[in-house]
C-alpha cells in the first residue's frame, strides 16, 4: 500500500505539481471499474449466471479490493446476441468508463466486439472460445484465460489415440462454429496419431430428440461429443437409453461434461471421459477457496464458466500489481495483462502467449460415482498446453481456421 502510494507520487512529481495534484486525488478516490458482459436472459443464461457467480466469489474473497484498489463491478446483460453485446460493450466503455471488461460468453458475441474494444482501447478478458480471436485476428486488447475451442480437444485426440488406443472415432456436436472448431481439433490430433474419424454428425442447436443421430453411429471405438448448454444432458440420456453407452465409450469436450452440469446428470454420465481446462477437484489453494466460496454463497459445484471469471479476476489483480499506480492507463493495462503469470489459480498455473491466449494445464477426467455423487476424477494432466498443441505456430496460423470443412475429413465412411 505504502509502496504503491509512493510510486504514484513519484510519477506525479515528475509532472508539474500544479496539474498533478487534482488527478492524484481523483486516482485515489475513484474505484477501479470492472465491467462484466454476461447473459442473464435467453437460452445462454445459465452459463451467464455462473460467470457472474465466479467473479462475485472472487471479489467477495478479496473484500472488493484488488492490489489496494477498491473495485466496482458493473454487470451488463447482452441477451446472448451480437448486437446486444455491442450495445452493452458501448454502455460499459462509453458511459460507465470501465477499466476492463470481463466476458462475453459466446463466440459470436466476442467476434462482434473485438474490433470495437481495440478501437476504444479497453482491455477485455473473455472465456468465449472462438479460435481466431487469439489467432488470425489476434488483438492486443484481448486475452483469454480459459481455452480456445480446440485447446482441450487436441489433448483428447492425443489421449484417445495414444492411451486408450482407439482407432476409429465418430464425432457429434452442435452445428455451429464452437462445435466445428472442437471437432476439428480432436480429428486433427487423432488422425495425426494414426486414428480415423469415420463419421461426423452435426445436429442443430435445438434438437428435441437425438435418437436419429445416435442411430447412425456404429462400428467405431469411441464417440467424441462437444455439446454445450443443456444439450449434453439430453444427449447423454439418449445415448445411455439407447444402450449405445455400454458398447461404445463416450468422450466429451469441456462444456459437455462441465462440473457444473454434474448435478443434472445421473448414471448415464458414469464412465464418460472428458478433457477440460478446469477441474473442481484440482488440489490448489486458490481452487479450494474458490470451490468453498461457491458452495457457501450459491450451494453449487463450480464449473468452467465460474472458474474462468475467477481466473480473470486474478489476472486483473496481477496486472494492477504490475502497474502499481498506473493501472488506469488502459493500454498499459492490456500490455500488463499479457505479461501476467500466475502460479496458483483454480485451474493451475496460467500464463499467456503473444496472442493473448492462455498456456495452461488440460485435465483428462473420468466421471465416477463416489458416495452417490458424480465426480470427474482427473486421470491425466497435460501440462502447459498451448492453443497450437505441438504444431508449429507459423504453419498453424498459415492454415485456415478450424471449421466444418477444415481439416478435411478424409476417412469418412
Amino acid at each position: 500500500m505504502k509502496v504503491q502510494r509512493r510510486t504514484v507520487l513519484k510519477g506525479l512529481l515528475a509532472a508539474s505539481a500544479a496539474v498533478a495534484a487534482p488527478p492524484f486525488l481523483r486516482a485515489q478516490a475513484a474505484p477501479f471499474k470492472i465491467g462484466l458482459l454476461t447473459v442473464k436472459t435467453g437460452p445462454l443464461a445459465q452459463g451467464g449466471n455462473q460467470m457472474e457467480q465466479g467473479i462475485l466469489t472472487f471479489l467477495t474473497e478479496k473484500n472488493k479490493t484488488l492490489a489496494g484498489r477498491a473495485i466496482e463491478l458493473i454487470v451488463a446483460d447482452t441477451g446472448g446476441n451480437p448486437a446486444g453485446a455491442k450495445t452493452k460493450a458501448s454502455e460499459l466503455i462509453e458511459r460507465d468508463k470501465v477499466n476492463v471488461i470481463l466476458g462475453p460468453l459466446a463466440a459470436f458475441e466476442l467476434l462482434a466486439i473485438t474490433d470495437y474494444v481495440r478501437d476504444n482501447a479497453t482491455p477485455l478478458i473473455s472465456i468465449a472460445a472462438a479460435e481466431d480471436v487469439t489467432q488470425r485476428k489476434a488483438n492486443p486488447f484481448v486475452i483469454r484465460p480459459s481455452a480456445t475451442s480446440a485447446q482441450c480437444c487436441h489433448a483428447m485426440g492425443d489421449f484417445a489415440s495414444k492411451e486408450l488406443k482407439f482407432k476409429r472415432a465418430a464425432t457429434i456436436s452442435e452445428d455451429f462454429a464452437f462445435g466445428y472448431e472442437q471437432m476439428a481439433g480432436f480429428q486433427r490430433v487423432f488422425e495425426d496419431n494414426g486414428g480415423k474419424v469415420v463419421k461426423k454428425l452435426w445436429p442443430p442447436f435445438v434438437t428435441p430428440d437425438y435418437t436419429p443421430y445416435i442411430a447412425q453411429i456404429s462400428n467405431v471405438d469411441c464417440v467424441f461429443n462437444g455439446f454445450a448448454g443443456s444439450n449434453p444432458v439430453k444427449f447423454m440420456r439418449a445415448y445411455a437409453d439407447l444402450g449405445v453407452k455400454d458398447k461404445i465409450p463416450l468422450l466429451a469436450g469441456w462444456t459437455a461434461m462441465d462440473d457444473a452440469l454434474l448435478k443434472s446428470l445421473g448414471d448415464e454420465a458414469v464412465g464418460v471421459i472428458s478433457a477440460a481446462w478446469y477441474s473442481s477437484e484440482a488440489n490448489t489453494p486458490s481452487n479450494k477457496r474458490f470451490v468453498e466460496g461457491m458452495q457457501k454463497a450459491y450451494g453449487v459445484l463450480p464449473g468452467g464458466y465460474s472458474a474462468g471469471m475467477y481466473v480473470a479476476g486474478q489476472c486483473v489483480e496481477a496486472a494492477i500489481q504490475i502497474l502499481g499506480g498506473k493501472a488506469d492507463d488502459r493500454k498499459a493495462l492490456a500490455e500488463a495483462l499479457h505479461k501476467v503469470s500466475l502460479t496458483d489459480t483454480p485451474r493451475g498455473p496460467v500464463k499467456f502467449d503473444q496472442y493473448g491466449n492462455v498456456v495452461g494445464d488440460v485435465f483428462i477426467r473420468k466421471c465416477e460415482k463416489k458416495d452417490g455423487k458424480l465426480v470427474n476424477t482427473v486421470i491425466k494432466t497435460y501440462p502447459n498446453v498451448s492453443q497450437f498443441w505441438s504444431y508449429d505456430e507459423k504453419a498453424f496460423l498459415g492454415n485456415p481456421v478450424y471449421s466444418r470443412d477444415y481439416p478435411p475429413a478424409k476417412n469418412l465412411e
Binding site: 446483460d77 441477451g79 451480437p82 448486437a83 450495445t87 452493452k88 454502455e91 467476434l111
Partner: protein, 326 residues
Amino acid sequence: MSARGPRFFAIGVAIAILLTLPLWIANSYYVNIASQILLWAVAALALNVLVGYGGLVSLGHAALFGAAGYTAALLLKAGHGHLVADLAAIGFTLFVSAIFAILSLRSTGIAFLMITLALGQILWGIAYRWVSLTQGDNGVNVTTRPRFFGISLATADAFYYAVLIVFALAVISMAIFVRSPFGASLRGTRDQARRMNALGYNVWLIRFLAFLFSGFWTGIAGLLFVYYNQFISPQVMALQTSAEILLMVISGGTATLLGPIAGAAIVVVMKNVASAYIERWNLVLGVIFVLIISFMPDGLIPGTARIWRSGWQTLRARAARGVRVS
C-alpha cells in the same frame, strides 16, 4: 384548423430536439442509443407500409434487413468501396423483396404471414449454413464506416446525424406515400380488395409495388444497422428480429407515421437502457405490451391521441357547463 397550430408546434419541437440531441447529450453512449432508435424506426416504418396500409402482416422482414447488411458487409470484405457495396446491397434487397412478393402475394392473411415467415427462415438458413460465403455464425466484420463529403462517420455524433438524415428522408417519403393516390389505393386494397378489383385496379400490382417500397426502406435500415454495429451475423435474420419489428409497429400503432417510431423507441430503450437496471427487463417489456394491447388496442400513438382528445372534450364540456375544474 385549431388542431393544426399545436401539431406544427409539436413537430417543430421534435425536429429541434432531434437536431440538437448530441449537443445536450454529452455521453456518446446515449447518442448511440438514439441512433439505434432511429435506425429501427426506419425498419418499423418500412414494415408499417405493408402491415398498416396494406393489411399484409409479414414475418420475413428480418431477412430483407439482413440481406442488405450481408451484401454490403461481404462486398466490403471483398475489397469493394462503400458506394458499390451500398448500391449492390439495395439492389439485391429489392431483388429479394420482389421474389418474396411474387411468392407470398399469392395469398393474404395468415397464409401470407406463414409464407413470409418460411422465406425469411430460408434466408436465415443460408446465412447460417453457407459458411464458405457468410462465415456462418462467426459473422462478418465491417472494418470501416463510410465518409460523406469528407466527413468520417466513425464518431457517435457524426453517425447519429447520418442516421437522422436517412430517417428524415424515410419519414418524408412515407408521408408523401400515405397522401399519394398510390397510398390511397393500397389502403383500398386493404379494406375492400374485391371492390378495388371491380373498379379496375390491379390489386396484385399495387401490393407488389408496396412490398418493394417496404423492402427498399428495410434494406436501408439494414445498411444502417451493419454500419452501426460494424458486424453482422445470422442472428439478425432470425425470426426474433422480424417479430420485434412487428411488435414495434403494432405497439406504436399501425397505419400511423408516429406509431412505428414510438414503438421502436420503446423496444430499443427497454432492450438496451432499462436492461441495465432491471434484470427481468423481458418481463417488463412484456407487461408494457400487454398494457398497450389492453388499454390501447389500436396502438400507443392512436390510443394516446384518443385519450387526449376525450379528456380535452370532457374538460371543455365541463368548462362550458360552468363546472369548476380543479
